[in-house]
């Protein structure tokens, strides 16, 4: 890590500490924002679960707490001083930034064994990528609001950092942790295996390990790790499997319809009960459907497959929050070299900003002023999702175009039409 990265991290830590301490009401204010805290990540609900847990009751009684049992075990070992909690979250962000620095240093975003971008030189240096994550207002707000998505993001970024270094087992273990915390990262397993395989040290590759056997090993490691974590949780919650239904069941079946930035809550409020199961299946399958196509089409750049899948799940998963989008944006900053090929950057930026302002305004009109209704807020979440969708598809376009121009340098700067 060079000096600039170090400076960036120090500055970010100081900024977060100042935000936590200089504005004492800010953390609680942000914790109550539905855009930042969802039923499956909220810090307030975590406290509720902790209270029940430390008083010898099942934390999943009452249907408020939907987070992984290991978080309970972790937070009960912490001293109850709020400063310690702040520091844990700041440390988590620092680890994420450190992983991003590792990823950027490896240069996997610009050059893989199968593809080297012709725009390689314009990628951002590692410190800039770290800064893009640490000083992103969405990341800062997420850190201050203390949802547990912060830990998931750290686990995902650690997995990717291990993946680009070719440490398949470590990557898959970190990914198992992320999936354990919030289920949907399990979708990243195939591209993660590809990423780790592509970046295996040359010595190991010479031994003639095929992708098939490598994938089989990693997949079984992942399964063992997931089962291990599950068993550990079983032990923590006093030998009950209740937590499965209350955590992953909630992700899958959407019993809590608290509004969030996603598209599910309103849809399932309006839904007649007889169609609910059908559309739950459709919505869940929809998330998984991109996996195979992206892995095949973007086989040359598995890191970009991971980035795109994170972007897609930040729109379409059951309880998305701003923290998911912040993770996508920070990974996207690794792809600075393709920004000039993107067509709608100004549109996306201004739409995201508009939605950021109008979202709280409409939520206020709906919940506090009582002069608006749920449609107001839902309309803005649609706009938000539209902006992220355009960004994701525009980034895919730019990456494909970049690949194409590398294959055919003579087509640079020419207009292309998709038929």
């Amino acid at each position: 890590m060079d000096r600039r990265s170090f400076t960036v991290i120090i500055a970010a830590v100081v900024l977060r500490l100042v935000m936590f301490t200089a504005f004492p009401s800010l953390p609680d204010l942000l914790t109550n924002r539905v855009e930042l805290s969802t039923p499956v990540t909220s810090f307030k609900r975590l406290q509720e679960g902790l209270f029940l847990y430390t008083h010898g009751l099942s934390p999943y009684d009452g249907g408020v707490f939907h987070q992984a049992p290991l978080l309970l075990a972790f937070f009960t070992t912490l001293p109850s001083n709020p400063i310690v909690v702040y520091l844990v979250y700041i440390l988590s962000d620092v680890l994420s930034a450190y992983s991003l620095i590792q990823i950027a240093t490896s240069g996997v975003s610009v050059s893989t064994p199968y593809h080297t971008s012709s725009r390689k030189s314009s990628a951002w240096p590692p410190w800039a990528v770290a800064a893009a994550f640490l000083f992103n207002p969405f990341s800062i707000a997420t850190c201050i609001a203390r949802p547990t998505i912060v830990f998931t993001n750290t686990a995902i970024l650690t997995a990717v950092a291990k993946g680009v270094q070719g440490q398949g087992i470590a990557a898959v273990l970190a990914l198992a942790m992320a999936s354990y915390l919030s289920l949907y990262p399990v979708l990243l397993l195939p591209p993660m295996i590809l990423l780790a395989y592509d970046n295996l040290p040359a010595v190991k590759k010479k031994k003639g390990r095929s992708l098939g056997s490598f994938a089989a090993v990693l997949a079984s490691v992942f399964t063992v790790a997931a089962v291990g974590l599950g068993t550990l949780s079983w032990g923590i919650t006093g030998g009950s499997w209740e937590f499965l239904a209350s955590t992953y069941g909630v992700h899958l079946l959407l019993p809590d319809l608290t509004p969030n930035v996603g598209l599910w809550w309103y849809f399932f409020i309006e839904m007649f009960d007889s169609f609910r199961e059908f559309f739950l299946c459709v919505f869940q399958l929809h998330l998984a459907i991109y996996l195979a196509g992206l892995c095949l089409r973007l086989r040359k750049q598995p890191l970009f497959v991971i980035t795109t899948l994170l972007g897609i799940s930040s729109i379409f998963k059951s309880y998305p929050s701003i923290g998911d989008t912040a993770l996508y944006l920070s990974l996207l900053s690794l792809y600075r070299h393709i920004f000039p090929l993107m067509r709608y950057t100004f549109f996306v930026t201004s739409t995201l900003l508009y939605a950021t302002l109008l979202g709280p305004a409409f939520y206020h009109l709906w919940i506090y002023a009582g002069s608006g209704n749920a449609n107001f807020f839902y309309a803005i979440t649609l706009v938000w999702s539209l902006a992220v969708t355009v960004l994701v598809s525009d980034a895919i376009f730019a990456v494909l175009r970049d690949e194409w121009e590398t294959e055919r340098p003579e087509m640079k700067g020419k207009e292309i039409v998709q038929i």
Binding site: R119, S121, L358, L365, A369, G370, S371
Partner: protein, 615 residues
């Protein structure tokens, strides 16, 4: 890329400033059209349960004698100089309520704002509904002293007489709370905060007695002992929030239909229901809404999603307290009918006569168009800056129109990649510096915000004068510092303006959904900003002319304008603003200092750039 290049190559780019201007013109013209019959609508009762004026009212007869005796007591209590601290008032009024057999509560409060102390004691009584379960309540309120500082003698006496009278009816399905606040500004706020447990306990006491969710509030303001001529309905809430239109309609219908009292709005005492008067009523309403201050004791209730109005007796006429009492009685009978919280009718409207209004769908486009004009200008600048970038390079080759130019424009989207590393870095620096400048100026707005909310009232005049003087030279000074330390190019200035306009457009369109009038007024005041550009090639006169125009449109000028409009000294306005910030939670200042003022400063920097930047 294809869209951008096609936009750049067509003439749309040149038309965009024209579109901006058109947006402003249409936005303003739209507003001016609203009072016409074709664009506004007659009001109507939307909630059928209200049934306004369908009941016979019985207040009168011997109740009038009761009222008069209470008025004597109130007048006597008001004359007693020691009673103005309201401790005696609360004691005495509480005793009267107690004599009716009502449960009585008292609440002390004390606020400090701008060095002044606002203290008093509220007293209230709860009439428990014979047919209800204490889950819902209505409030009948009178302030001991009204907004003008007069003793509200008949108003308070009427509440007392009505408390005695309404208690005899067995038909109430909602609790009725009779509330006498010791003043019109801080008292109601302290009471409603404490009712919802959102008060700051040491300064504002908790309520000893509570009832259910408040469904409606009627405030009576009748400061004389003479007859009155018309009923003035005040409805603006804090931060421009409004009560449900059904409540106003019900009051208007009962007063004018059932009781034959003329009703007026927005201090338009003579309203001929023609275009001019309608427009004036609407604009007065918009100014009140835009300033976001409390226009009466009812205003404090509205942020809690409680619909509230003040009924003010105005003028000398032949209506007496019995008519007003029967109006209130009928109004409460209607409110008593409510099956659920007011929700049927409009929450966003502009009233232009007591029976004519426009709803949000009709008027919102005017503010949105003005906000959109800034966004369009920002997009135009963004597209143009991409073009200028390539234009710069071309100019170095003596600006010859050649194939080279076409090539450059074609590759405009990929200029960085084609030209390699150096251009990328400079482009990022360009964006970063401009963005940092805009953000820094916006944070600068917190300084006046903090200053004017925390200074002592004695220093307001001098502080304001110093600030106004500083404000005049600030843009030029900032521009000088900026050019000295960063050597910005015209492109920097264009991008700074682009980001500033983008932010302004965004803030104003978000604001238009919360407080239409404030957004519209600030939009109109800052509309010249769209057309300000650094004019390096032209003479300094153009810059000076712009600067003079800008100086006429600063937030400080607007403050002076508000002071003139109200006919009060400037320090009073600033005191009111600081009081509003502390007590009412009014955020008009935040919008002025953190949205409007930064945009103005950046426009000033643009103009000052005319002198600083070499062509």
């Amino acid at each position: 890329m294809s869209i951008l290049t096609s936009l750049r190559s067509t003439r749309i780019l040149k038309l965009l400033p024209l579109v901006s201007a058109l947006c402003i013109l249409v936005g303003v013209a739209w507003l001016l059209l609203l009072p016409l019959d074709d664009y506004s609508r007659r009001t109507y009762i939307s909630e059928n349960a209200l049934l306004p004026g369908q009941v016979h009212t019985y207040f009168g007869g011997s109740e009038q004698d009761v009222f008069r005796s209470y008025r004597h007591e109130v007048t006597a209590l008001g004359k007693n100089a020691s009673a103005d601290g309201s401790g005696v008032m609360a004691e005495k009024i509480g005793g009267i309520f107690d004599a009716f057999g009502l449960k009585v509560g008292k609440q002390k409060f004390e606020y400090t704002a701008a060095g002044g102390v606002y203290a008093g004691e509220n007293v209230y009584a709860v009439l428990q509904a014979p047919r209800g379960d204490a889950t819902e309540a209505l409030v009948l309120c009178a302030a001991w002293v009204n907004t003008e500082g007069e003793l509200n003698e008949s108003g308070v006496a009427l509440v007392l007489a009505l408390a005695r009278y309404l208690k005899r009816w067995s038909l109430w399905s909602k609790d009725i709370i009779f509330l006498i606040t010791s003043d019109s500004r801080a008292g109601p706020q302290a009471w409603v905060d404490a009712y919802h447990d959102l008060h700051a306990p040491p300064a504002v006491a908790s309520l000893p007695l509570k009832s259910g969710a408040i469904q409606g509030v009627v405030v009576v303001d009748y400061p004389t002992s003479r007859g009155f001529e018309s009923l003035h309905i005040v409805y603006d809430g804090i931060n421009g929030q409004l009560p449900n239109l059904d409540l106003i309609n019900t009051a208007v219908r009962i007063a004018s239909g059932q009781m034959a009292i003329r009703t007026t709005l927005q201090e338009m005492w003579n309203h001929d229901n023609q275009y001019k008067d309608r427009l004036r009523t609407m604009l007065r309403g918009m100014v009140n809404q835009g300033l976001g201050h409390a226009s009466g004791p009812h205003s404090s209730f509205i942020p809690y999603h409680i619909d509230a109005i003040t009924l003010q007796a105005y003028g000398d006429g032949w209506h007496d307290e019995v008519t007003l009492g029967r109006t209130v009685e009928s109004l409460f009978r209607s409110l008593n009918n409510l099956l659920e919280h007011f929700h049927q009718s409009f929450f966003f409207y502009l009233l232009m006569a007591e029976r004519r209004f426009v709803s949000i769908g009709t008027y919102l486009p005017s503010a949105m168009l003005i906000a959109v004009n800034f966004t369009i200008a920002a997009i135009a600048l963004w597209l143009k800056s991409g073009r200028q970038n390539t234009g710069e390079e071309e100019k170095s080759g003596d600006g010859r129109v050649s194939e080279e130019k076409r090539r450059l424009i074609e590759s405009a989207g990929e200029a960085p990649s084609a030209a390699g590393q150096p251009v990328v870095v400079s482009e990022e620096r360009l964006l970063l510096l401009s963005m940092a400048f805009v953000v820094a100026i916006h944070f600068l707005g917190f300084i006046p915000l903090y200053l004017f909310n925390n200074l002592d009232e004695k220093n307001f005049n001098s502080a304001f004068n110093i600030f106004t003087l500083l404000n005049i030279v600030l843009p030029s000074a900032l521009c000088a510092i900026f050019t000295k330390s960063f050597a910005p190019t015209p492109l920097h200035f264009a991008l700074i303006k682009c980001f500033s306009l983008l932010l302004l457009g965004m803030f104003l369109s978000a604001l238009a959904t919360l407080n239409f009038s404030l957004s519209f007024l600030i939009g109109v005041f800052s509309s010249p900003i769209t057309f300000i550009n650094p004019t390096p090639k032209r003479k300094w006169t153009v810059g000076t002319a712009w600067m003079i125009l800008l100086q006429g449109l600063t937030p400080t000028t607007a403050l002076v304008g508000v002071a003139l409009y109200w006919g009060e000294p400037l320090s009073e306005i600033l005191k009111e603003a600081a009081f509003g910030w502390r007590v009412w939670g009014m955020w008009t200042q935040v919008v002025v200092w953190c949205v409007w003022w930064p945009a103005w400063i950046i426009a000033g920097v643009q103009v000052a750039g005319s002198w600083a930047v070499e062509a």
